[in-house]
Every structure is written in C-alpha cells, then in structure tokens.
C-alpha cells in the first residue's frame, strides 16, 4: 500500500440538488460509485489516490447529498451521473462501482459508453439469475445481512452490523439507536429502494444491453460472496466484450473492504494494462 493523500469533502451542484463529493489525489481520474452502504472511502481508494484523482460522488439520499426526491429509478440515476461527470469536467474517466454502485456503473456504460474509459464492476448487482437469486436486502436484520455480505464475521464492519442487530428491523425498538446513526441508514435504504425495490436489484433489460459497453472492463468477485453468487459476475463478464473476471479468494460481497490488498492489486494491474 502506498501513502494515502488527504481527502477533501466538497459540494457539487447538480440539477437534482447539491451533492457531497469526496475527492483525493491527483492523476488519471477514477470515479468510485459506492455501495448501498454509502461509503466515501475504503483502503483501495486511499491507495489509488496516491497516483490518481479519485472522485467519490455521494448518490442523492446518501450522506449529505440532496435530490433523492428527483430520482425515481435507474434512468434518473444515469442522467444524474452524467450530470456529475459533466460537473467534474470528466470526459471518460475510469469508473469503479461496488455492488449497487457496480450496477449503476454498468447502466451508465451501456447508455453512455463513450463516457466510461475503463470499467471496474466489483460484486455488481443488477442482474437476475434464476438459479442464483440475490437474497433480501430490505427488511432483514443487519446481523443476518452481515452473514451474506462478509465472508469473515470478525471483520469490523460485520461486527458493527451485528451490534446494530438489536435495534434495526423492529421499528418499535429503533428509538434506542444512537443519534446520528439512524437517519443515514434509513435514508440510504430509502435511496436504494428507489432504484432496486421492484424489480428487485436488477434491470431486466440490462443483460441485452451489456453488449453496448465499449470500455475495457474488469469484473471482480469475492469467492465467498453469499449476496451476489459467482454466477452474477460471470454473467457480466460473459456479456461485456473482452471483459476480464477476477475472483478473490477469501472475500465475501464487500471485496474492497474485506480483501483490500488483493482488490487493489487486481485493479492496479487492470488500470496499468489498459492505459495507466
């Protein structure tokens, strides 16, 4: 891992409202689209920021970002992302998306292929595969969900979800949740529901559109992912011309958090091989 550079927490005006933008480093641009967890950084991004300009636009409804009421589904999300790229003056950056963000990145790249220079899809949702269903995200206890998201339940994020278990899931107990923790969680899930309640975390049209993606593409899967089974990453890799699939041993769904060094290595290798 290289030395991390400082991050700045900025605001970006977009047509749907003011959004939060976390920026770090300098160099070739990398845009990171976060998961339903709304993370604004993770160890691989810190590493990449040593020699890349890393942009994390926080999606409306997450963190400090406004404008969720203007987002009714994935089409709105893609137009919003195009506005974000325009607002940042990025013509065709590398786009890395995790889970929900991976789905958004794939949708962006099918609809505006010229705006995505390189594409990294980490544990992307977005497809429905009959034989490999994505388990429920909404309405489950955090501890139960952690079992699907993390291969190793002793990971600090998994531990935190287990701690939250006593509160969330039963509205009659949520009042005890520490102040400041509840609202971001509630809002992130509402934002995720806007995109993925029905059809559940997928777009039935997406498989037929993957052929439109022109960017060099890397699909990263956790070998122990219980949320999006391997078949999802395989279907993405098979549907996108020339895409490479990297399977990371010991990782669950949240690959960049659970296996940061391995994730960073495959992403760096991919970026180097496709232009730096």
């Amino acid at each position: 891992m290289r030395a991390a550079v400082s991050r700045t927490d900025e605001r970006l005006e977009t047509p749907v409202g003011t959004i939060q933008l976390v920026r770090s480093g300098a160099g070739a641009p990398v845009v990171y689209l976060h998961s339903a967890g709304g993370e604004t950084t993770n160890p691989p991004l810190e590493d990449l920021s040593a020699d890349h300009a890393v942009y994390v636009p926080v999606f409306p409804g997450f963190g400090e970002s406004e404008g969720l009421e203007q987002i009714d589904g994935m089409e709105d999300a893609v137009f919003h992302l195009l506005d974000v790229l325009d607002g940042l003056g990025l013509r065709s950056p590398a786009v890395i998306g995790l889970s929900l963000g991976g789905w958004m990145a794939a949708e962006l790249a099918t609809r505006a292929p010229e705006r995505v220079g390189r594409l990294v899809l980490a544990s992307p949702v977005g497809l429905r595969i009959e034989a490999a269903p994505v388990p429920d995200l909404f309405g489950r206890r955090p501890g139960e969900l952690a079992e699907d998201l993390y291969a190793d339940q002793s990971h600090p994020m998994a531990q935190m979800m287990h701690l939250l278990d006593d509160w969330v899931g039963d509205v009659t107990k949520m009042v005890d949740l520490p102040a400041g923790m509840l609202m971001p969680m509630v809002q992130s899930m509402a934002a995720t529901a806007k995109l993925g309640w029905n059809p559940y975390l997928h777009n039935p049209k997406l498989p037929g559109r993957l052929r439109r993606i022109t960017a060099p593409t890397l699909v990263v899967a956790g070998a122990a992912d219980r949320f999006t089974p391997r078949a999802h990453a395989e279907a993405y890799a098979a549907g996108i011309a020339g895409a490479r699939l990297a399977v990371i041993e010991g990782a669950g769904h949240m690959v960049p958090m659970e296996r940061p060094e391995e994730f960073t290595a495959v992403v760096r290798e991919f970026l180097a091989a496709t232009g730096g």
Binding site: G139, T172, K194
Partner: protein, 381 residues
C-alpha cells in the same frame, strides 16, 4: 378477522412470510361467517357503525378486501354506518378502482359508507412489492384522483406522476354529496396528521400503543389543526381500543387474558416491519418515540391495564375508564375492538351485549351520541 388457529409450535411472524399452508379454508368458512354475524349483531345492539380494515397476507386479520365484507354489510344491515378504514390506496392501480367500489358500497347501503384511506402497513409493501419509497407520494396522488373522481363531472383527464388516466368518469357516483365522510388512521406520522388537518377529515389513532402515546399523538393532531386555523372538532378524533366487558373485573380478566395474549404474541409479530422510505425523515423520530410503548413490549397484565392497551372489566369499570380516557383525548368517536385473537364467539357476544346494555348508555349520557366502529369486529358506540 384474526386467524385463531396458528399451531402452538409455530413461532414465526404472522405477516408476509407466515406460511399459508397453515390456513385452513374449512375453518375459514366458519370464521368469516361468524365474524360477519358479529358485525351484523352490532347494529341490533344499537351501535352506530362498524369498522373494517384491509391487510394482506397475514394471520392477523383475514380481510384482504374489506370492500367485500362492506358490501355484504350494506345488504345485511339497514341503519348503521359502515366504515372501511381503510383502503390502502397505493396498492390499487389505478386508484379509480377505490372510487368505484366505495361509491358502489355507498349507493347500495343508501349513503352509510365512511371512506377510510390508508397508506397500507409496512408488511404490505413486501407482499405487493410496491415501492415503499413512493408510498406517500402515491397515497397523496391517489387521494386527489379519488376525490376528483367523486366531485368533478366526468369525463376528464387525470395526469399525475404515478397515475395517468385519459378518461376518468366513474359510474356510480356516491350517494353522499359531495362525497362520503373521510377517515384516516395514523401511527403518528406528522405528514399524515397535517394531511388530515388540512382537509378537515377525521384522524384515528392506531391501537396497541400505550395511552400516553395516544395523548401525544392527538395533541399533535390538534396542534396541526390549529396551524390550519381552526380547533379540531371532537368528531375528527377517533379513539380505537380493545374493549372487553364481563360481569366482574375478575371474570373479565379470567375470560379475556389468554385471548389477548394470543393476539399480541402470535398475531402481531412481523407487523412492525418498516420498509425503506416508508416513513419520511421528518416523521420517523415521532413514530419511533411511540415504538417502545407498542404492546409487544409490554411485560404483563398490569402493564396492559395501566397502559390502557385494553379496557377490560365490569361494566362499571369499563364505563369509568372510558369516560376518563375519552375526556382526556377529546375524542368524539370511540372505536371499540370487541374481538381479539382467539376470543370465541360466545364471549365476544356476551361482551358486546354487556357493553351495549350497560356501558353505552352511560357514555351516550356523558358525551352525546356519536358514531364509531372497530376493525375486524363489531363495536361501535
């Protein structure tokens, strides 16, 4: 219309995923007819109306379509109000279906419908896969469409965000003009209170919370009315509570307690699931404040009685309690839930009879005559 025969070894939720193999349609035949008889009995006993409500895919209340029951009542009763509290508007697409069916019930019954509108419970958003993050928007838009369908001469075009209909022109139109009375239940969401206050509809609290939560909720509703520039009419406030009357306080508890606990411990689990986006960030803190006072968190019978989760006792006890509570709440409508959980038909009828004979006259003398009802089974005053 609760399902009273969940197997003793079933300890899962009664909602959304409660396996429907557990439902016995032959028993269901008996139950529907029994519950309808109890609703009809309410009119014979002198109640002003009955309430029925809508919930889907659960053992808590087997009434996915209250309009079917209301249409039976429209024919089997002659005088009392029939309050459907309510129709879960976002579950109907297009919602003109609600305008049509309510108008049918109103016309068949000769103008006895009270039209209730609800957002639908959290579990319904799982059962129907309607997006909960759009629930409030859909509710408000469906409401506007229904009101317009009832009051504006058709045909006209409705063009909203969620519903677009080229020709709105429902036949029949309601017999009550300009439209049936509208009641809206709520659990403390500020948006709902303001919505009701602005339109001068009636607000009814959802039961199963501690009495203090009701007091706070109705105080907030009254404040919402004041902000609209008027004082709430008591008839805009409905107090909904489980009621059981027997000869003595002791016999009341002995006859009732196990049936109440079946309801709380077997039929409520799963009801409180809150899908994403269902409450607004603004309303959530107030709703959550009420959470710990939900009846599933009550430890024992003393807690049930002192928290007014159920009003149980002799006619004297029940009359005294209700007099005090109605006065404190400023409620103009008392909506009694007279059947709960496994409470059998004979005890339900006995309690209804005692209430009608010995409690109702006292309350009428104290407060004057008003309408009310109950979800699931008879009981109004």
């Amino acid at each position: 219309m609760p399902y009273p025969a969940l197997p003793p070894d079933y300890d899962g939720p009664a909602w959304v995923t409660c396996p429907n193999e557990l439902y016995d349609p032959v028993l269901g035949h008996e139950l529907y007819n029994r519950y309808i008889d109890e609703l009809v009995l309410a009119e014979e006993l002198g109640f002003d109306g009955v309430c029925i409500n809508e919930h889907h895919q659960n053992a808590y209340g087997n009434m996915p379509s209250p309009n079917l029951i209301a249409s039976i009542l429209a024919r089997q009763t002659e005088r009392m109000k029939i309050a459907v509290v309510g129709s879960a508007l976002p579950l109907y697409d297009p919602p003109t279906r609600v305008a049509e069916e309510f108008a049918m019930i109103d016309v068949i019954s000769g103008g006895r419908l009270i039209a209730g509108f609800v957002v639908g419970g959290g579990p319904e958003y799982y059962s129907f896969s309607i997006n909960p993050a759009e629930a409030r928007e859909r509710f408000a838009e469906a409401h506007d469409l229904i009101l317009e369908a009832w009051t504006r001469p058709g045909p006209f075009e409705f063009s909203g965000k969620h519903y677009r209909i080229r020709y709105v022109n429902p036949w029949p139109r309601p017999i009550q003009q300009p439209h049936p009375e509208i009641w809206i239940p709520g659990v403390g969401s500020l948006e709902t209170m303001e919505f009701v206050a602005r339109r001068r509809y009636a607000y009814m609290g959802i039961p199963y919370f501690h009495f203090d939560t009701f007091c706070r909720t109705y105080d907030l509703f009254r404040e919402a009315c004041l902000r609209e520039g008027y004082e709430a009419d008591p008839l805009q406030i409905g107090f909904l509570a489980p009621i059981y009357v027997s000869d003595t306080d002791e016999s009341a508890r002995a006859e009732y307690e196990e049936h109440f606990w079946y309801f709380v411990k077997r039929l409520l689990p799963g009801i409180a699931i809150s899908p994403p986006g269902y409450f607004s960030p603004r309303s959530l803190p107030n709703v959550l404040r009420g959470g710990p006072s939900f009846v599933t968190n009550v430890a024992d019978w003393d807690g049930v009685i002192s928290g007014r989760f159920a009003i149980v006792g002799s006619p004297e006890t029940v009359a005294a309690r209700l007099t005090e509570d109605i006065a404190r709440l400023g409620a103009g409508n008392l909506l009694g839930l007279f059947q709960m959980g496994t409470l059998p038909a004979d005890l339900t009828r006995q309690s209804l009879g005692l209430f009608a004979e010995q409690v109702m006259p006292k309350l009428r003398a104290e407060f004057g005559a008003v309408v009310s009802g109950t979800p699931r089974t008879p009981g109004q005053l």
